[in-house]
Amino acid sequence: MSAAEEVVAEGNEAVEAVPKRAMTLGTGTSLVVLLLLVVVPLFAKNFVIFQLTQLLYLGLAVLALNILTGGSGQFSLGQSAFYAIGAYITAVMMEVFNIPYFLCLPVAGVVCFGAGFLFGQPALRLSGVYLALATFALATAMPQLLKLNFLEKWTGGVQGLVVTKPDAPFSLPMSQDMWLYYFTLVVVLVIYICSVNLLRSRSGRAFMAIRDNEIAASAMGINVALYKTLAFGVSAAITGVAGGLSAIAVQFVAPDSFTITLAIQLFLGMVVGGVGWLPGSIVGAAFIIFVPNIAEGISKGLSGAVFGVLLFLVIYLVPHGARQVAILGQQLAGRLRKN
């Protein structure tokens, strides 16, 4: 069974309760979530705001992976590489060339699109475990590449690079953290809306046709190679923007922040959130940010083990992640309403 077929098999099981199109929240729920995201930071401490920012940009990175896997049926353990490229491009442009941060992000996106598109070329011939392997190797190799000597005058080598946090423009009465939060929120919202529309567009349907049955899709006249690499490119571009946002928020980039661990976290975020269900990305991001913290609280050094055990519980009990929980919730609500 190829990866594509398997994703489909998974899709079919998941979709019994809800139509396949339901990859977003309803309008009402979306507005409530948005309202919460806008209002909560006004009453929160700076550290909480920072964590919320983290939630947003990691959610964006998980979303990018979700477009690749849920959309086109390919998957990647190498997202940390594109994340790193985005973060480094943003950091180097801001610090070495003094370019304003909001101009760096699109550049990061475009460069990562190129990188993803190129990586997608060899990846075209791979599926399932082979693709996992190639991307796994990419993620492992990336920190080494960032440490290269001849890049050192820009990247700072092993030391990394410190990034200055931007002030709020137009002398708005906002702390730097809060400004960055709202800036991130806007970027994430725009990309989220674009992604939803992308998946509903002609290209998105081509992605899904390839995911469902590659051979049938090509028989229908879909340029499979083009759309598969395109999916890789789009996913890499969004991941790159997320990486850029992270560089600004964390104010620091170093090769060892972008190891395979990060790639694995993003992958887990997608699994926990539910493959192909875009709002799940934020749930997944919350899982990968807060669970290790809580585990660390239970016992220091145990965080990995707790993380692993929880993950096993998720894949046994709710194999379709947060989406399944949401569906169960809906059904329950429906039943209550009937009574």
Binding site: G128, L302, G308, L311
Partner: protein, 292 residues
């Protein structure tokens, strides 16, 4: 010329380790069609067990044998408890499961034995081998043990009933089941053997890279590279791939300017990708024809 011979010999020695890892990866891949991303961590944990036994005063070979048995049982237990329920699950779920296992083992090893780097003894000593300056006795021992292991596996798969049953269960599960082979237990057996083979790789490489919870990270990548190079469906290919990757790694580090030690992992990446692009089934793998 001496530098060249030296590098090739050293490459064969580390290649022996990659061959063991690749073999372990292929054993599980054959059985369940998934790559075990936690293979390296399982090997690391086994190595720690043998270290602990030696700390308690057991002689090297005693600890070696007990570790093999414990790894074998451990491998079977992991399959029975964690992965049997996932047998019909999609690729994605399985990858998540392997990653969870990776995190659990890595973190528990750190918790039990902490993250400090430990010396690990070699049973062969580290003096020059047979008076030659080219390889040390430990490197020679690494090659020797790997070759013995290979011969053992060859005889097991070719000349024993259970080896034949395992091959049958891996290649055509349905037919194997019809002739009365318990395929489910063959898979568990494959896991046990993979775990034991991995532990041998761990115990042989530990004197070189030192013992610590993250020691197998790089080795596993090379093991994957070797398995892909040789073909994921061929144990023989995995071994040849292991030796080739070892030699290639050393020669590239010596002769390609600017590669050095830092770029060795990216080389493994480049190798994996180029093999997959040029010959996706690997050197000795068989092509699988897909049906709609």
């Amino acid at each position: 010329m001496e530098l060249f011979t030296n590098q090739v010999l050293a490459g064969i020695a580390t290649g022996a380790i990659y061959a063991c890892m690749a073999l372990a990866v292929v054993m599980i891949y054959q059985a369940i069609d998934h790559l075990n991303f936690a293979q390296g961590e399982m090997a690391m944990f086994s190595t720690f067990i043998s270290w602990q036994l030696m700390q308690w005063g057991m002689p090297y070979w005693g600890a070696f044998v007990i570790t093999l048995i414990m790894s074998f049982i451990g491998g079977i237990a992991i399959e029975r408890i964690l992965f049997k329920p996932l047998a019909k699950a999609p690729v994605l779920t399985n990858v998540a499961g392997f990653i969870a296992l990776f995190a659990i083992i890595n973190s528990s090893a750190g918790l039990i034995w902490d993250f400090t780097i430990k010396q690990y003894p070699t049973p062969f000593g580290s003096s020059p081998f047979l008076g030659s300056q080219l390889i040390s006795t430990h490197q020679a021992g690494m090659i020797g043990v790997t070759v013995l292991l290979l011969l053992g596996l060859y005889f097991f798969f070719q000349y024993t009933r259970i080896g034949l049953a395992m091959r049958a269960a891996a290649s055509v599960p349905e037919s194997a089941r019809l002739v009365g082979i318990n395929t489910s237990w063959m898979i568990a057996l494959g896991w046990g053997m993979a775990s034991a083979i991995g532990s041998i790789a761990g115990m042989l490489i530990a004197p070189v890279v030192f013992l610590e919870p993250n020691m197998m990270g790089g080795v596993l990548i090379y093991g994957f590279a070797a398995a892909v190079l040789g073909g994921l469906t061929s144990p023989f290919g995995a071994v040849v791939g292991g030796f080739l990757v070892g030699i290639f790694e050393n020669l590239a580090g010596t002769y390609i300017p600017g590669v050095g030690n830092e770029l060795k992992l990216p080389i493994a990446l480049a190798l994996i990708i180029s093999v997959l692009v040029v010959k996706p089934a690997g050197l000795f793998g068989r092509h699988i024809v897909k049906r709609v």
